[in-house]
């Protein structure tokens, strides 16, 4: 049992079928960045704390720095590259731009994906819910106020959609 197997992992990546030949110990962030050239997820703390490496797996945020690539077999992974297109941005991306909710941009992919997942579960969150949900996404430019404003703007639209569908 000493020779370590290489394995094939097949999953959905940004709505397209994907597969990669990996070692069991490989981390999702490295497979996304190195095998697929998707550099939106950033490695920063490497501890599950900062959220710069956030991607969505089956709609929920995960720290790709601390997730085995083997664990996404059969699941659906969404990275920032899979959200919107330069011609048609996702509403979350558009709101971040309108509110100037970024400075250096390092935390932005993780922040946008976390917001995406929050709004999917709760289209019109309160400010308290937004702050609570984003607690694990750290911005060192201290741009939180504009981020919260962008999400609250989306929340207002979510509330309108709820009342007049």
């Amino acid at each position: 049992m000493n020779d370590i197997a290489v394995m094939d992992v097949t999953f959905t990546l940004n709505n397209e079928p994907a597969s990669a030949r990996i070692e069991p110990r490989e981390l999702l962030i490295d497979v996304l960045r190195e095998n697929f050239g998707l550099r939106g997820a950033k490695r920063s703390c490497d501890l599950g704390v900062c959220g710069a490496c956030t991607v969505l797996v089956d709609g929920l945020p995960v720290s790709s720095c601390s997730t085995l690539a083997a664990d996404v077999a059969g699941r659906s992974v969404l990275t920032i590259e899979g959200l919107g297109t330069p011609q048609a941005l996702d509403p979350v991306q558009q709101a971040f731009i309108e509110h100037g909710a970024m400075q250096c941009g390092f935390c932005t992919p993780g922040m946008v994906l976390a917001v995406k997942s929050l709004l999917a579960a709760e289209p019109s969150p309160t400010e308290e819910q937004v702050r609570h949900y984003l607690r694990g996404n750290i911005c060192r430019c201290t741009g939180y106020v504009k981020i919260i404003e962008a999400v609250m703007d989306l929340a207002k639209r979510g509330a309108r959609l709820k009342t007049n569908p």
């Binding site: 394995m7 069991p24 110990r25 601390s66 085995l68």
Partner: protein, 290 residues
């Protein structure tokens, strides 16, 4: 850093996981959400030649009702699932709230209750409340299943009564008498709580039989036994007055060390504050059982 190389096993039955763990002994580790294990393996504080992924075992999943009004929680249930599960919200809303406040959304989405209890990192939220609720564990090993109280399972920092090769199957929370209330409050300025206090109040005469358990501060949850006794059976306002008066003194007896989360003195101060807040939260919440 990458973890050291390992073989990944993916059994889909408890028996197969137990057999793999028995075969490889100390060279193998169970693996659930990985929120503790992978971080330790990346830092190479821990390494194993064999990782036994439990996530494919359906029998370790799900939350169901115990016939006495309690809950049966599969070891793989995540904090996020516990925070949102209709049965938990109905029968133990204070525990759903505790789960919603664990770590951050990514840790809650991946981290399991089983992994939390088996790792026995003292700076954790579930143990104090689950001990106050008299939770029991069911473990499966080569000789079959055994059952034990969570309070006896946690031996100290990173140390449990789990034998090498045993798998935690489920956590059972016994049903509570009608009118039981519960609350939990924690505080820390880093990741993970510095101190957390759980208060469970079971109806007794004109007041309650109180269980006050302090978590995170030392190796295992500790009862504030003197206060529990002094508050026993008193009407709400009197019990809260006894608590306000006696909390500082009760906290002084709790084992605590100076560390990055604060001095022992500061943490004991938190015990007093959080005990009062947890008790008030318990009294402010709807009754847990109808």
């Amino acid at each position: 850093m990458l973890p050291r190389r390992f073989n990944l096993h993916r059994p889909d039955r408890i028996e197969d996981a137990v057999a793999l763990l028995a075969e490889h002994g100390d060279d193998a580790s169970p693996y659930a959400g990985g929120t503790e294990l992978l971080i330790a393996m990346k830092a190479r504080v821990l390494s194993y030649a064999h990782i036994v992924d439990l996530k494919g075992i359906a029998a370790l999943r799900g939350v169901s009702a115990r016939s006495d009004g309690g809950l049966i929680i599969g070891a793989l249930t995540t904090h996020h699932e516990l925070a949102n599960h209709s049965l938990v919200l109905e029968r133990l809303p204070a525990y759903a709230l505790l789960s919603a406040n664990v770590a951050n959304i990514r840790v809650r989405a991946a981290g399991t209750l089983g992994g939390n209890l088996c790792f026995a990192e003292p700076h954790a939220d579930p143990p104090a409340m689950l001990c106050a609720l008299n939770a029991e564990l069911v473990l499966a090993g080569p000789g079959g299943e055994r059952r034990m109280l969570l309070a006896e399972f946690i031996l100290g920092e990173l140390s449990t009564a789990r034998a090498t090769g045993e798998v935690l199957v489920r956590i059972e929370v016994p049903g509570l008498p009608a009118g039981t209330r519960a609350g939990y409050r924690a505080f820390g300025h880093l990741e993970r709580p510095a101190v957390g206090v759980a208060a469970v109040a079971l109806p007794l005469g004109k007041g309650f039989d109180w269980r006050l358990r302090v978590g995170s501060i030392c190796g295992r949850p500790t009862a504030l036994a003197g206060l529990e006794k002094a508050m026993r059976g008193l009407p709400e306002a009197d019990a809260l007055a006894v608590l306000a008066e006696g909390a500082e003194q009760a906290a002084a007896a709790v084992e605590a060390d100076d560390d990055i989360r604060g001095s022992a003195e500061y943490k004991r101060h938190l015990v007093g504050v959080l005990a009062r807040r947890a008790a008030r939260a318990a009294l402010g919440m709807e009754a847990l059982a109808a």
